[in-house]
């Protein structure tokens, strides 16, 4: 479904060359659920932007559902759904329902099909209470659910999410996670998401891509990732160690358990 081969992207910032992504190769099969981890500035968003055709790669090759994103951006847009946690794809001043209706027209979804899908999404994402509210008045959790609905109305084969749980409270986070897991299981939608929240990873994904300084540092299952750093059981500690060692900082000794409390794993 997604094929990246030696993918690279450089930015020139005031005569300096920044390798945001370099030599990245991976393959995602249809129906997989993959999380992309990595410290801030690792190159996750840049990768997503290349997958969706927003940015053209400066080296390497990428195919999403058989298409070259940068060349066939609009054709690809019909087949994928994209969610940006940091910004909305909805129209700020329009009520959520109008935003979704506008998406229906832009994506040329049949009216009847649209109604059925919207009904389903309304139930699963609990949109009913705020369908007529202008998007700018929605809470972050409501807005994110609206955004996810908008990305799925044209029933894409691939769903790409850049930090979909950023800033959400625990309840909203759980709702979003549950929904994504069901979508993946019941519709077979391929999902690729980036996140800083390890809870997302533990609850959702069999497979993790760890990106660091623009390159692939790890590609495998969660258990393999745990096994990578001996002596650490919580995924949080493992990732902290990996991030620190990539910065060149020494490993921190494990903290002693909090007296009387439960330590470590969530």
């Amino acid at each position: 479904m997604i094929d990246a081969a030696e993918l690279g992207r450089v930015f020139r910032v005031r005569r300096q060359v920044v390798h945001a992504v370099r030599d990245l190769s991976f393959h995602v099969a249809p129906g997989e659920f993959v999380a992309c981890l990595g410290p801030n500035g690792a190159g996750k968003s840049t990768t997503i932007k290349m997958l969706t055709g927003i940015l053209a790669p400066t080296s390497g090759r990428i195919r999403v559902d058989g298409l070259d994103p940068a060349r066939r951006r609009t054709a690809l847009a019909r087949r994928i759904g994209v969610v940006f946690g940091q910004r909305t794809t909805l129209w700020w001043d329009l009520p959520l329902r109008d935003s979704l209706e506008l998406n229906r027209l832009l994506y040329k979804v049949d009216r009847k099909v649209f109604r059925d899908r919207l009904d389903e999404l309304c139930v699963l994402l609990d949109l009913g209470a705020f369908l007529t509210t202008p998007v700018r008045q929605l809470s972050l959790g409501q807005r994110m659910r609206g955004d996810i609905a908008a990305a799925l109305l044209h029933d894409p084969a691939v769903l790409v999410l850049d930090e979909p749980t950023i800033g959400l409270d625990v309840v909203s986070k759980a709702e979003v996670r549950d929904f994504l897991r069901r979508r993946n299981a019941e519709h077979g939608t391929t999902v690729l998401l980036t996140t800083h929240d390890l809870g997302d990873v533990e609850r959702l994904c069999r497979r993790v891509l760890l990106i660091d300084h623009g390159s692939l540092a790890f590609d495998g299952t969660l258990d393999d990732l745990r096994a990578l750093v001996p002596g650490r059981t919580s995924i949080e500690e493992v990732v902290t160690d990996l991030y620190l060692s990539s910065r060149g900082s020494p490993r921190t000794p494990p903290l002693p358990p909090v007296p009387g409390g439960t330590s470590g794993t969530a």
Binding site: F11, A20, G41, S45, K49, T52, G53, I54, L55, A56, R73, T74, A75, A77, R78, I80, V82, F84, Q86, R87, T88, T89, W91, D93, L94, D98, L102, L105, L106, Y107
Partner: protein, 262 residues
């Protein structure tokens, strides 16, 4: 592209229609702003009978044709020059992942129907000028042609200005010199300017084809540069050529778009 544009414009119009009073006030404001230019022309002709060889009715005719084209273009597509705001805010990323033309999305974004006020003012000025000038039908047919060509030329200028902002994201105001500057330029007979400027506006950046060259034809006036009067009929060709250049520049801009690091 037209369908996308119409859909988005309709959505924004409906959103604006919720605030009727605000819309009426803003439309009135746009009408008054359009009137300021006329007030300036009035002050000029309160002091003289002719400006660079042209009388008040002729200047109003030149002003009216250019301003009608510019105000219409500005209302319909002028938001293309807000592209730097979309680049900085990251909203361009969102537009790029939709399966429709980016240009139409940017042009329609925040469509402000209140700008009709300025169009109405321009149309009124042109109407008054035409009533005073008594132009024979044999040449008057060119007036709608020049207005439509002018809309295409100004829209191309907005698009070129937008494309430039992919390079100069931090200095979008440079584009204003070409878009609003182009409009200001054509408000007066080009005979007020240095002939070299007029040559540049004929052969390089064809702004002289908005109203000056076709206007000379309609007014049956000789060309100070000595070009034959039928060159005034070339406005549609000039408009299409500029539109083609603008389309290429826009594509080049999108291709070299580099998003923003978050």
């Amino acid at each position: 592209m037209i369908r996308t544009y119409a859909l988005l414009v309709w959505a924004w119009t409906r959103a604006a229609a919720q605030y009727r009073v605000s819309f009426a006030l803003m439309a009135a404001g746009a009408f008054v702003i359009g009137g300021l230019d006329i007030a300036v022309i009035w002050v000029i002709f309160a002091n003289t009978d002719s400006l660079a060889g042209f009388g008040p009715a002729e200047v109003m005719f030149l002003y009216g044709t250019s301003e009608l084209a510019f105000a219409t273009s500005d209302m319909l597509f002028g938001n293309v020059d807000r592209i730097s705001q979309h680049i900085k805010a990251g909203t361009l990323d969102v537009m790029l992942v939709r399966p429709v033309a980016t240009w139409a999305q940017v042009a329609a974004d925040r469509f402000g129907p209140h700008r009709i006020g300025r169009v109405v003012m321009a149309a009124a000025v042109l109407g008054v000028a035409l009533a005073r000038l008594d132009i024979p039908l044999g040449r008057a047919w060119m007036v709608p042609v020049m207005v439509v060509s002018g809309i295409v030329i100004f829209t191309s200028m907005f698009t070129l200005g937008g494309a430039l902002q992919f390079l100069l994201t931090d200095a979008p105001e440079v584009a204003n010199a070409f878009t609003y500057g182009g409009a200001m330029l054509n408000q007066y007979p080009l005979s007020v300017y240095d002939p070299r400027i007029v040559q540049g506006l004929t052969y390089v950046l064809p702004l002289a084809f908005v109203n000056w060259r076709p206007g000379l034809y309609v007014l049956d006036r000789p060309d100070p540069l000595g070009l034959p009067s039928w060159t005034g009929l070339l406005s549609p060709a000039a408009a299409l050529a500029l539109a083609a250049v603008a389309a290429l520049a826009w594509r080049a801009g999108i291709r070299r778009y580099r998003s923003t690091g978050s």
